[in-house]
């Protein structure tokens, strides 16, 4: 593997040398504080460490969390690493925070999102073809919620706008990356009611 230097100006010789234990500890603290999932790249930049050491430390840390069987989980989501609670404790957490589950997307919006997730980049006419309906209001909802983003225009008649899913989509749907989506062909079975 080619070693990628995230800082550009720094040469590998100037990498700080922490012990793996120190690295695990400092990474844990960074992930704890970060609001967004932290990428390996980002961690390398902040810590001035090479990719391999950071990846190894993350692996060890993730192992520690899963071994501990506590209330927290360390997982890869939306291309980065994030510390979160385990889903099984949601009722108690909700009681503490006094929150209700937030409003879910409508069926129409979810269907549109599914088409966009699997067919991206995809244009409005292409979505219409699959769904059989105009999806303008769903697309607006998804854009407002930042689940999808425009991916430039398609080089075809009318140059329609193309859409794709965002990083927020992966985070909200608990995906490490898009390849984690189940294969669309697996949804083929037509179950008779």
């Amino acid at each position: 593997m080619v070693e990628e230097n995230t800082n550009g100006s720094e040469s590998p010789a100037e990498y700080k040398k922490r012990s793996i234990g120190e690295l695990v500890a400092v990474i844990e603290s960074l992930i704890f504080v970060s609001e967004e999932p932290l990428t390996i790249r980002g961690l390398c930049g902040i810590l001035n460490e090479d990719k391999e050491s950071v990846a190894a430390a993350l692996e060890q840390l993730a192992g520690e969390y899963s071994e501990r069987e506590g209330g927290l989980q360390l997982r890869e989501i939306g291309g980065g690493w994030q510390l979160s609670t385990k889903p099984e404790f949601h009722e108690d957490i909700r009681a503490l925070l006094k929150t209700k589950p937030s409003a879910k997307l409508s069926l129409a919006a979810l269907e549109t999102l599914a088409v966009i997730a699997y067919k991206q980049p995809v244009t409005v006419p292409e979505i219409l073809e699959i769904r059989g309906v105009q999806s303008a209001s769903s697309i607006k909802t998804l854009l407002d919620k930042r689940l999808i983003v425009s991916k430039g225009r398609k080089d075809t008649v009318g140059r329609p706008m193309q859409y794709g899913t965002s990083k927020d989509f992966m985070i909200q749907f608990g995906l490490k990356d898009l390849s984690e989506l189940p294969n669309i062909e697996d949804f083929e079975d037509f179950v008779e009611g």
Binding site: A103, L107, L113, R131, E192
Partner: protein, 258 residues
Amino acid sequence: MEHEDEQLEFDFENATAKIYRESRDEIRLSIGEFAGPLDLLLFLIRREQANIFDIPVARITDEYLNYIKMMEKLDIAVAGEFLVMAAQLIEIKSRMLLPQDPKAADEEELEDPRQELVDRLLEHQKYKNAAEMLWSRATVEQAVYTRGRLDTDDNNMEVSATVFDLFEQFQKILERKKDEILMDIKREEMSLADMIRTMRERLRSHKRLNLMELFSTLETRRELVLAFVATLEIVRTSAVKLTQKSTFADIHLVIDEV
């Protein structure tokens, strides 16, 4: 144009499209779930317990048209897509009624007129299932919490304003008013009690009162001072709070909903 019903919640387990016949001429239906003609067709095929690969086109078409008539009767705007599908169904139905041309049978493979529709339905069904998968993923994700946000100025929308912030805003307004030429003609004496009453009323009807706006509508120095004192009085005596979105932004009086 298709009208999509933006429901906020959707329960895949219990959601079924229903047509109720309440009495002789009363029909009720719930159609929020039908995202379009393909959905309606899938529903009808399921309800008829038909095989999707061998759709009884005549029966399904009749059902479909009935449904559209019902929508029209109920004054629901029937979207163009539904009518296009109706035309396609009728076309398929008539092609199936026509006897096969025995000569053509050899040249073109005997293609089932329903094939294209079946393909579209299957494709559509795949994405419906995918939507269901997304729905359950989102449900799991909603049960997962990350650490609460840090109280930094960036993400803390409402910093409570101190009396000094309030005073500063008041100063700003006085400063602005100073430059205006005042013609003190009318002499409406307003008491502090009057001012408190007016502000309370406005707060009650609007839930939220932008002090900057309120102050700039006032004309005399006396009124401004009254409004300022009234603000302090209202905050002291009732369940309201002063909020400010960021340093130097407008201060709002908000009814404290606890």
